[in-house]
Symmetry: C2
Subunit: 196 residues, 2 copies
Amino acid sequence: MPTKTSVYIATSLDGFIARPDGSLDWLDGSGDNETNDHPETQSSGEDYGFKDFMDRIDSMILGRTTFQQVLKFGEWPYTGKHVIVPSSTLSPEEVPERLQPEVKIANGEPSELLSLLDIEGYRHAWIDGGKTIQRFLRAGLIDEITVSRIPVLIGAGIPLFGELVRDVDLEHAQTSCFDSGLVQSRYRVVRSSEEH
Amino acid sequence: MPTKTSVYIATSLDGFIARPDGSLDWLDGSGDNETNDHPETQSSGEDYGFKDFMDRIDSMILGRTTFQQVLKFGEWPYTGKHVIVPSSTLSPEEVPERLQPEVKIANGEPSELLSLLDIEGYRHAWIDGGKTIQRFLRAGLIDEITVSRIPVLIGAGIPLFGELVRDVDLEHAQTSCFDSGLVQSRYRVVRSSEEH
């Protein structure tokens, strides 16, 4: 089995992962969100299955923009996960020293990045960051998508999904509704025979 | 109570109501869909609550493009509903004679079109058609949104949602999952005090 790939992300009902300037204040209206991966910073303490998801993955391919945003948090939220940041411009020295054992910069096509994980024995990678998710979807290299819909329309922003070379068929696996109004749906991607 | 307004529509998981050329073949892959309002043409006979919805409305504001598309079907699917088609270019004579008692062409702002229904005693209007839905949302004149997500990404097309003058907060009312993989969520729009 090749390394499994999952997307796990929150969007507005109109499909945005962030406002045009990257801000995430709409996630719970409190303006204190640092990432839309896990809106568990809400006062309820509900984590929307984020810990369970984290327990299932052993690695990440984390887009450069998101990586640099996460670095500003202070605390690194992905301790214990092997992380590849796809970039042709970042140098390894730009990764803080404490993170260097776990975080690698790599330039390459999605399939090459995945091979890096596969060869080292990683079994399940979280694919994160807007452009990175779109690249992997276009390459037909996403196995599972979990979308958490926040009950708000924000009108403009950075879309989760982008252009494709062909339709991507999905199988609905599960939907959960939460008291906050968040609706989380998990889909398996039906890979076309051309791709594998 | 002013006339209630509801959106009831199917979209791809990436938020499109039709491909760029208007086609709806992705609704069930069979290519025989005439409208995405009611993907009940699927072989299963499941109507995804469409008849119940139709029983709840007494009127429609139906965008001109969608109206002209529906006219091509042959059979008029909205018998018994009072329909307003917002248009500054269509003339009343362009409405087939058999439909003239039920279908009116009217030019005006969303609030003016709604007033026409309100004055005549209609209590619940289905707002349909891509541009029309967006105009009513921007005007703060939608009460309820039911979105049926089809499990497919199509990459490009006519989006359900568009730009807004401010965020639109929603309350999640109900989500239903169907064997076909369709996930249907109903939301109530939280109207801001500025609007009413």
